[in-house]
């Protein structure tokens, strides 16, 4: 059941990231997808062939730490963009085209 919950969470996160225009909400969607990945790591470890060797848990903890840093960087970027462009609307942020 747990992988299924993982798929659900990824889908919800992806939908949020794709449909929302607010940069912060997109970030939240991305966090959701990350947590779904962590959930899957735990689940595949727990029900996998070597549940005695705490690798999945270590992986998840590591991932959570990285995600925390990433969220901080992402939020920092959003704040800077907001200061620069006075908006957090992603559709207005189209100056990086070729």
């Amino acid at each position: 059941m747990t992988p299924l919950a993982g798929y659900l969470l990824v889908s919800i996160g992806l939908a949020g990231a794709l449909t929302r225009r607010n940069a912060i909400l997109v970030l939240i969607g991305i966090e959701l997808m990350l947590n779904a990945a962590n959930l899957n790591l735990i689940a595949f470890w727990r029900y996998g062939p070597h549940p005695e060797s705490l690798t999945g848990m270590m992986f998840a903890i590591f991932s959570i730490a990285v995600a925390a840093a990433e969220a901080a960087v992402g939020l920092g970027l959003v704040i800077q963009i907001h200061r620069h462009a006075k908006t957090t609307d992603l559709d207005a942020m189209n100056r990086m085209k070729g």
């Binding site: 794709l18 189209n94 085209k97 070729g98």
Partner: protein, 690 residues
């Protein structure tokens, strides 16, 4: 008539033999030094030249006394010092020097006569602005000539031989502003070069056959017994052995240098040089180098001779020598230039030496070489003194009566003239020429050379008397009155005159010291030899011939003083013959019509070939390349450049198209990413099922 030569095999070289190389090296070094001097350093260059040659003379005398001492002790030695110059593979090219009676005598002669002529040059060249250059060349010449003399290797001899030829060229053309001097220098260089090419061929052949160019090397030298035996067994062509063929090639070189017919044409023209040069190079030493060369390689020339017999090479040497002796003497009769008469006389006397070598062996030829060197140097220096005194006048018909104006020059000149004529008993030329005549008389092949040489002696007496009568007797027919030369020029004349008389006494039949010394025998004094019937007859004939020559010439020319424009006394008798003689038998004209005309024609043909054929081919190739280059340029601009430009354009267009994908909307990217992930996942799942 040829005597066996008994010279002891090589001993360990003595100290003087070890340092023999200094004799040529010091004058050469002096020449190098004075080449660095400024034109104004006149005294320094003259002192360098004279000092270095004095040093050479001193060493030569020590060497001579050393050899003489050995000879008196009963052993005649030949000391050689050899060293390896180049080594390639298993063969060596060796150089070396030799001290034996022949080289010792030549060393003393060359350095002594050379020194006297150097001293004379101080006076003669006094007013020449290129005094320094003159002494530089003269020193170089002296060094190279001494090198020729001491060489124990045909290669070393050839090197020095060529330096000698070079200095001859430089000194004939010393007054290069005169076109005639420049032409004479070129003529001398080219003519001797013809002989030298054959000489070089002989050297190469000898090296190929024997593997060494050393003359003597303790039994393994190229003209020692073992090598000669090998050469004799090797057939060449026309029935000659390799030894004979090589000997003839070497003789061709000697003939070029010693002005033997048909290569004699350069020597009379060489008189364009300063008179001391004519005396030193073109009378006393260099032209004698050819004779010396034949004497040096005499074992090769005589290889294969039966007892008392002769070889093809020696026969050729004899005939060429005898012919040249008469031929040049005939020409000398009808010349009017004081130096030119002496030049033809030199050619003639060199013919005597060659004939002497061919018929009588080394000692006979070399004895005449030595005496001739002294009296001919004396005559040339005397002629220089006359020219100097007559304000650079060289035509004997514009002189006359100089016996009163230049008494000392006259006295010494008369001694030289009598020595050259072979005036009986007193003068050296008599004894040395008699040696040659005696050998000719006993020659086993033919008697003709004997008659030729006797006739030559008659002519010699005739033309010398004619010259002396024109120059010193009668009355003065020139412009400004003549004056006597300074003491620095007269002193060498006196010394040479002394030797022109006394030198004969070391080689008389009664006391054949010279021959004995060269051949390594003991010399005994035997007065009675002179009284032998045969020898008395010969000496009588020889004396008679000289008297006839002098008498006839005196009756024709003595005290007559004809006008310079009047025809010669002899011309009145036989105008046609005179024409032939005064035009030197048209040899120059003949060469001009044949050899030179051929070369001129060949030059024109080559020029035509060069311009039309080779030039055309080169131009065609150039044209083809230029065409190819144009084609290349066309391809470059239109194909390569065009293609490149087109490629770049397409890249720009492609980049523009791709840049449209990049909208800048982050969520579009994310969408594509998600779609791609889904597609990848689907692919993975689908493929894992299969």
């Amino acid at each position: 008539m040829q005597e066996a030569i008994s010279i002891a095999p090589q001993l360990a070289a003595s100290p003087i033999a070890e340092i023999l190389w200094l004799i040529p090296a010091v004058p050469m070094a002096a020449a190098g030094l004075s080449a660095l001097l400024k034109q104004s350093a006149r005294k320094t260059s003259a002192s360098l030249a004279i000092g270095s040659l004095s040093f050479s003379l001193l060493l030569s005398l020590i060497a001579f006394v050393h050899v003489l001492g050995n000879w008196m002790g009963g052993i005649t030695t030949r000391e050689v010092v050899n060293l390896t110059w180049i080594q390639f593979g298993t063969s060596n090219v060796d150089l070396g020097w030799v001290l034996d009676p022949l080289s010792a005598i030549m060393l003393v002669m060359v350095s002594f006569v050379g020194l006297l002529i150097f001293i004379y040059s101080i006076g003669y060249m006094k007013s020449d602005e290129n005094y320094t250059r003159f002494f530089c060349f003269m020193s170089l010449f002296a060094g190279a000539m001494l090198g020729v003399v001491i060489a124990n290797s045909l290669l070393l001899l050839f090197m020095c031989w060529e330096i000698v030829g070079l200095t001859s060229y430089l000194l004939i053309g010393f007054w290069y502003q005169k076109p005639s001097a420049a032409a004479a220098a070129k003529k001398a260089f080219l003519t001797t070069r013809i002989g030298d090419v054959f000489f070089l061929l002989g050297i190469v052949w000898l090296f190929a056959q024997t593997g060494t160019l050393l003359f003597y090397n303790g039994g393994s030298g190229s003209i020692e017994h073992a090598a000669l035996a090998g050469l004799l067994s090797q057939p060449a062509a026309f029935g000659l052995s390799a030894a004979g063929a090589i000997a003839l090639l070497i003789f061709a070189g000697a003939a070029g240098k010693s002005g033997q017919f048909p290569l004699h044409v350069w020597l009379p023209d060489a008189m364009e040089g300063p008179t001391p040069v004519s005396a030193l190079i073109h009378a006393a030493t260099m032209v004698a180098a050819g004779v010396y060369l034949i004497a040096r390689v005499y074992p090769l020339m005589a290889a294969g001779a039966l007892a008392g017999g002769t070889t093809t090479a020696l026969t050729v040497v004899t005939w060429v020598g005898a012919f040249t002796a008469v031929f040049a003497a005939l020409i000398a009769v009808a010349q009017n230039d004081i130096k030119r008469i002496l030049a033809y006389s030199t050619v003639s006397q060199l013919g005597y030496m060659m004939a002497g070598l061919g018929m009588g062996g080394v000692a006979v030829g070399i004895f005449h070489l030595i005496t001739h060197a002294f009296f001919k140097a004396l005559l040339f220096l005397g002629a220089g003194s006359v020219i100097h005194g007559c304000h650079e006048e060289q035509n004997v018909r514009r002189m006359g009566g100089l016996k009163a104006d230049m008494p000392l020059t006259f006295l010494t000149y008369a001694i030289g003239m009598l020595a050259l004529c072979g005036f009986p008993l007193l003068f050296s030329g008599f004894w040395s020429k008699d040696g040659i005549l005696e050998a000719a008389q006993h020659w086993s092949v033919a008697k003709t050379p004997f008659y030729m040489l006797v006739f030559g002696a008659l002519l010699t007496a005739f033309y010398m008397t004619r010259q002396v009568a024109y120059v010193f007797f009668g009355h003065w027919r020139g412009g400004k009155p003549a004056h006597e030369s300074p003491a620095v020029m007269l002193a060498p004349l006196g010394i040479l005159a002394f030797f022109a008389i006394t030198l004969g006494f070391i080689g008389t039949p009664a006391w054949p010291w010279f021959r004995a010394f060269l051949n390594g025998k003991a010399a005994g004094f035997d007065w009675h030899v002179l009284m032998e019937r045969e020898l008395m007859t010969l000496m009588g004939v020889s004396a008679l011939v000289v008297f006839i020559g002098i008498g006839v010439a005196w009756s024709l020319y003595g005290d007559r003083s004809p006008k310079p424009t009047a025809s010669d006394s002899l011309e009145k008798f036989a105008p046609t013959a005179w024409g032939w003689l005064s035009h030197k038998f048209y040899v120059d004209e003949f060469y001009g019509m044949t050899v030179i005309a051929f070369y001129a024609w060949w030059g024109r043909v080559s020029d035509w070939l060069d311009r039309r054929v080779w030039g055309g081919i080169v131009a065609g190739v150039a044209w083809a390349f230029s065409l190819a280059a144009r084609l290349n340029r066309f391809l470059d601009t239109n194909v390569v450049d065009g293609g490149f430009d087109k490629g770049c354009e397409e890249l720009t267009v492609g980049g523009g198209l791709l840049s449209r994908v990049q909208t800048g909307r982050v969520q579009t990217y994310l969408r594509i990413l998600a779609l791609a992930v889904v597609a990848l996942a689907a692919l993975l799942i689908w493929s894992s099922k299969a």
